[in-house]
């Protein structure tokens, strides 16, 4: 799921999409390391970038609250891509490593997302993803590891984020020790770990107002050389910080007919035990759809998600969390803050990602 989701997120992060032009035969010329089981994920080294792999991202989503009690959704993504071109070009501008970033702010009072993006080739001290630790920046947008966790600074067009993320739980390795299957072929996989329940504090400046905020976030770090299966139409993904300290990640990749092509997920209970789900154990059931007045796309913004025996309903912070990135990436999708409900009771908060509802995601 991560890789699917990766794909999605690539789309999110503006020009990341170039990496997915992998259908182009020229890509085949570049030898990417294949993600295979049995490779151990090692920290702290694997917090840093893996430039040999084609794609990689650090993806933070979370719910925060200002002092007035208003809920906000935040999303900060940094994406690294090795396009596999110009690898022998001696130019300092050679686009061997590309970096993208995407940030969004969800605010129910505003009614729709505020978002912005950055893109650059690594180099000239302007954009860089360090290999030894999480340290990635494009201009004045950055995500860096700190002694306590992470810090993100984002100066977007409509808002500014200055956030600290404190680690409260150990790393959650997805899949088999970080080896996460994305499709029926063994190579269709990624290295993937998550950091749920990051404690967020800091500032959000929006509409010229400086808000002191606090809340909880989720970080994914994933790297792979894989690509989206051609049969896929899009996917649904969610990551939820459960109120009891547990964490749920679930995804399914849809085929052309809306059926499930692949699925997966992980539940870490509050006691630290981890349950990994086989594709057949995951189910996404739309409960309510919302039609975008701008694109006419219809999204299942409320979902029932079943992961093994766990069943919960995802209810959006607001319906309109559609992200129109046609101008840069060429696609439109939905990425929004959701509440996880069990009956009437809220049992967690997280993010839901819906792609391929506008048009088939063809990257």
């Amino acid at each position: 799921m991560t890789s699917r989701r990766n794909c999605c997120r690539r789309a999110v992060s503006s020009l990341a999409a170039v990496a997915l032009a992998a259908t182009s035969p020229a890509i085949a010329e570049t030898e990417y390391p294949v993600v295979l089981p049995g490779v151990e994920v090692v920290f702290p080294r694997d917090h840093g970038a893996h430039p040999a792999y084609r794609t990689e991202w650090w993806y933070i989503t979370g719910w925060v609250r200002d002092r007035a009690g208003r809920d906000l959704g935040i999303q900060v993504t940094f994406f690294r891509n090795r396009p596999g071109v110009a690898e022998d070009n001696p130019s300092a501008f050679a686009p061997r490593q590309l970096l993208f970033a995407h940030a969004a702010l969800a605010d129910a009072a505003h009614g729709r997302l505020r978002h912005d993006q950055r893109a650059a080739r690594a180099g000239f001290g302007f954009a860089r993803a360090a290999e030894d630790a999480t340290d990635v920046h494009i201009g004045d947008w950055s995500l860096r590891a700190t002694t306590q966790g992470y810090a993100a600074r984002i100066a977007a067009g409509e808002f500014t984020l200055d956030l600290a993320f404190r680690v409260t739980q150990p790393v959650l390795l997805q899949g088999a020790g970080g080896y996460s299957r994305k499709g029926p072929l063994p190579g269709q996989s990624s290295f993937y770990y998550s950091r749920p329940h990051l404690a967020v504090s800091g500032m959000v400046v929006v509409d010229g107002v400086r808000l002191e905020i606090a809340g909880e976030a989720w970080l994914d770090h994933e790297w792979s050389s894989e690509y989206l299966a051609p049969e896929a139409q899009g996917w649904d993904w969610t990551g939820v910080n459960l109120a009891d300290g547990g964490a749920l990640m679930a995804f399914r990749i849809r085929d052309r007919h809306g059926g499930t092509f692949w699925a997966g997920g992980t539940l870490r209970r509050s006691d630290g035990t981890v349950r990994r789900f086989a594709p057949g154990e995951i189910a996404f059931t739309p409960l309510r759809t919302w039609r975008s007045p701008r694109t006419e796309a219809e999204y299942p913004v409320a979902m029932r998600v079943r992961a093994g025996t766990l069943e919960l309903e995802l209810a959006p912070m607001m319906d309109d969390q559609e992200l129109d990135s046609r101008a840069s990436v060429g696609t439109v999708y939905w990425e929004g803050a959701v509440r996880a409900l069990e009956g009437e009771r809220e049992i967690g908060r997280g993010y839901l990602e819906l792609t391929g509802y506008w048009r088939p995601l063809r990257l």
Binding site: V18, S24, A26, P83, A86, N89, F93, V329, T331
Partner: protein
Amino acid sequence: MATLAASRLLGLLRATAGSLGAGKGRLSISIAAIALGVALGYAVQLVNRVAVNEFAQAVQTLSGTADLVIRGPRGGFSEQVLGEVAQLPEVAAASPIVEVEARIPGRDEALRLLGIDVFRAGLVQPGLVPEVAAVPQPSAPDSPSREMPSLDTLRDDTVFLNAAAMAALGMGVGDFLPVQVGTGIVRLRVAGEVRAEGHAQPLAVMDIAGAQWRLGRLGRLGRIDLRVHPGVDVAELARRIGAVLPPGVAVERPSAAIESTVRLSRSYRVNLNVLALVALFTGGLLVFSTQALAVVRRRPYLALLRVLGLTRGAMMLLLLLEAAAVGAVGALVGLAGGYALAELVLGTVGPDLGSGFFRGVVARATFEPAPALLFLVLGIATALLGSLAAANEAARTEPAQALKAGDEQRAFRRLTPVWPGLAFIALGAALAGAPPVNGLPVFGYAAIACLLVGTILLLARIARAVFDRIPVARRPAARLAVLQLRGAPGQATVSLAAIVASVSLLVSMAIMVASFRQSLDQWLQHVLPADLYLRAAPTGDSAFLPPDVQEAIAALPGVRRVEFLRSERLLLDARRPQIVLLARPIDAASAASRLPLVRSAPPPAGAAPPAWVSEVAADLYGFDVGQEIELPIGGRSVPFHVAGVWRDYARQQGAVVIERALYAELTGDRNANDAAIHLEPGAAPESVARALRERVPGSGELETVLPAEIRQRSLAIFDRTFAVTYALETAALAIGLMGLSSSFGALVLARRREFGVLRHLGLTRAQVGAMLAAEGGIVSALGLGVGAALGWIISLILIHVVNRQSFHWSMDLHVPWGSLAAFTAIMLGLASLTALASGRQAMGGDAVRAVKEDW
């Protein structure tokens, strides 16, 4: 009230004028003359406006939303500059660009090829971000790939063309674009289109890393476009950035590039505008002669109107209104004609009017209201001024006197005092020496205007003096001709003014152009002393001769010596175009034989390395012999001693010559652009050229030319550049001839009664014809003489003041005696023929009855 009455009277006058038949024809010529002047001026204005607009738009597209642009030498500056400026907190986005004028084999025009960082360009110049061709994907017809950047924008072997480039090159997606780099060919796959809206000339875009590597620009940038955060003091930031930039690299607002180019072309444009104004002026003189004669012919009618109660002022107003109507009609016709002419020029010569300043700009004319209004006013004003003398004459005439038969001969007899004419000429002489204003020879033009006006004011005096000195012949026809001229010099003066104005313009232009051409020819012979020349490419800056090719050329059989030349462009002043740096083997001792020096002095011992600056460079940057100057070479400021100033007709932005070995030492650049090959005695250039093709690697793209061919080509370019001037000359000639025949025709018609009397008295038709031919001949000869003399003086001002100040180059006077003599003979013949024809027309059977006409 007065106007109403006047307009009614105008109708009356019109009717009376119409009754004389020929009025309409002369009216049309006046209208045509005004129209021609207005058309030329408006067309120049329109065409130039289009050129500047298109150029500005192209620059706009290239700079996008940039607030500042960092530029340097043509070869580029260190990419480290990007690291420094991109980090500045005030800078919102910095877009680095590699600029290459790519030589495309087999094409005359270089292709502008930009290496961009698609991510940064997207923030500053979104128009330059390519659109990737949609790859047909049957499974996904709605593929968004068309809207997304693709890997092709990042590859180093792909290129994106705008529509103009695709059309010009005849290429589409999937084709391979060959670019000559050095002496080799780099093939780039056309992967899609770049819209670059507003950039009407061909443009190619590729990835910056690919451009740096494939096109030989590693480590170098041509430009950095900066967009700053809102609220930042751009000027202050520019100052701070400028302070840390290496020598020869400057930061300016994007409009500076437009201004510097527009500035470079301004002199040329102003010259054309002045020519158009001269045409208009000639038109004004034609109106003057037409109106003057109309007033003479209608003298009794006008007197009658005065008798009937028309006041002096109303009479004046009446005639001026009439002229204004003529001017307005002429100007309107001219505006339409000017628009059509502009379209024609844009479609054929191109918007740079053959000057080459805006090469590659393609555009259509658009109606411009402001200049249209200006030229409408100019046309009307010209007609008003032209008719002022006539109106004044008519208004001042005592009606009782005018009613007397035969009084028309008295018109314009009053001699103006001598001093205004002399004062104008003296003023003209004084102004000719004044320096340019804002780079324009304003005083030079004023001097010419003063001389012209002064001479015209003195024409009556000159005419009288000359006519009084012509011996009275015995033969009746000639005798009568002389007596007529002596008796009525005023009328002759009216024709003379038009002749003198157009002839002096023609002669001065002819002398100036001939001098220029001759000087250019001599200059070419001086700067092309070798037996064979070789160029890496005729255009662009992507081609060069690498050291191994240079060695191979020098080793060719039959080659005695080769001088290699490296050409670069340095930015000395951000508000001016880059100056050309020519690095070639030269020293103080050999400079005179290699450069057409206009002044020089041997450098003192211990002086900095010598540099020789062109006249243009000397004028623009204030360089002079003996001075120490600093040139930004290789990212450093290097001192030079100006050892000489040389004449250079080739580089209008200025040029500096330095020793090539020193240049190579400073920059590490050992490539060359051109080679001047001196052959062993007896070696044939053709066989050496053949050997070159056989033995030198990559020589297939090299171009060898004989000096004679270069000379021929250069002169052809010169002639093309002056095509517009020639066109204006022809127009002036047309106006002059029209003026001549119109004046004569009018004069002759006015004298029908006289011919009738003479016929009564026993003059044969042939004798009357001979008389008219003699009169026409004498007046024309005088006009030609005065016009030629004045033209010669004006040509001196054009050569030594106007051209020197406009284009900063000197030339030697060369009078094209042959063509001037032929011109004079033709004009004389035409004048006599015109007079004869007019006489024939006037002497029909009506001549007899003309004696009965009481008025």
